[in-house]
Amino acid sequence: EADIYQTPRYLVIGTGKKITLECSQTMGHDKMYWYQQDPGMELHLIHYSYGVNSTEKGDLSSESTVSRIRTEHFPLTLESARPSHTSQYLCASSDRPENYGYTFGSGTRLTVV
C-alpha cells in the first residue's frame, strides 16, 4: 500500500543532541515537504523539495537542514537540538498537488528537554 512514513513517532531528547527525523514515501512523488506545527496550531512550511538534489527553505525560518538524495527519502536534521525546537514535524509528498493535494505522514512529535 502506497503511503508516507515518518519515524520516530515521538522523540524526547536532551539539549545539544543531533537528531534526524526520517520521512519516506512509496508513491514515487517528486515533491516533498516538511511542516512545523505547534499543537493545535497552523502549519508552517520549513523545507521543500521538487526532486532529487533539490531542496529549498520554506516560509518559516528553521535551523534544521534537509537532504534529498533519493526520491523516496527526505530526512530532516537538527545539528544541536534546543527547547525552542519542541514541536510536531509533519512530512508530506505530492505528485500533482492540484489534483490530489498532499499526502501527509503521521508526524513526529519532538520534545527537547
Binding site: 521543500y48 509533519l90 492540484e98 501527509f104
Partner: protein, 114 residues
Amino acid sequence: AQTVTQSQPEMSVQEAETVTLSCTYDTSESNYYLFWYKQPPSRQMILVIRQEAYKQQNATENRFSVNFQKAAKSFSLKISDSQLGDTAMYFCAFTPGFYNTDKLIFGTGTRLQV
C-alpha cells in the same frame, strides 16, 4: 500576500446535526485549487474535499460538501449528519495559482468537537 483565514478557532456540534466551517482567502489569481483537510487527534492529516476555482458547481464527498463563492473568496465546509469520528482539526488550503500549484497555503485551522 495570499492568505487563508479561518475565523472559527473552535466549534462544537451534536451528533447527527449539521455544521459549517468557514474559510476565506485572498488572492489576485483567477484560477486556483482549494482543499479542506482533516487532522484527527494524534492521527494523519487527510484530504477531505477539493474544489477547482474555475468550476461553479460545489464539490461533494458523501457527508461533506462545500459552498464556494468565488467573488466573495469564500470556501466553507458543511458536514452533514455529524459523527464522533468527525472530531478533528480542519484546515482550509489553496494553491497560489492555476499553474503555481507546488506549495499549498494553509489556514490556521478550526477545531471541531462532535
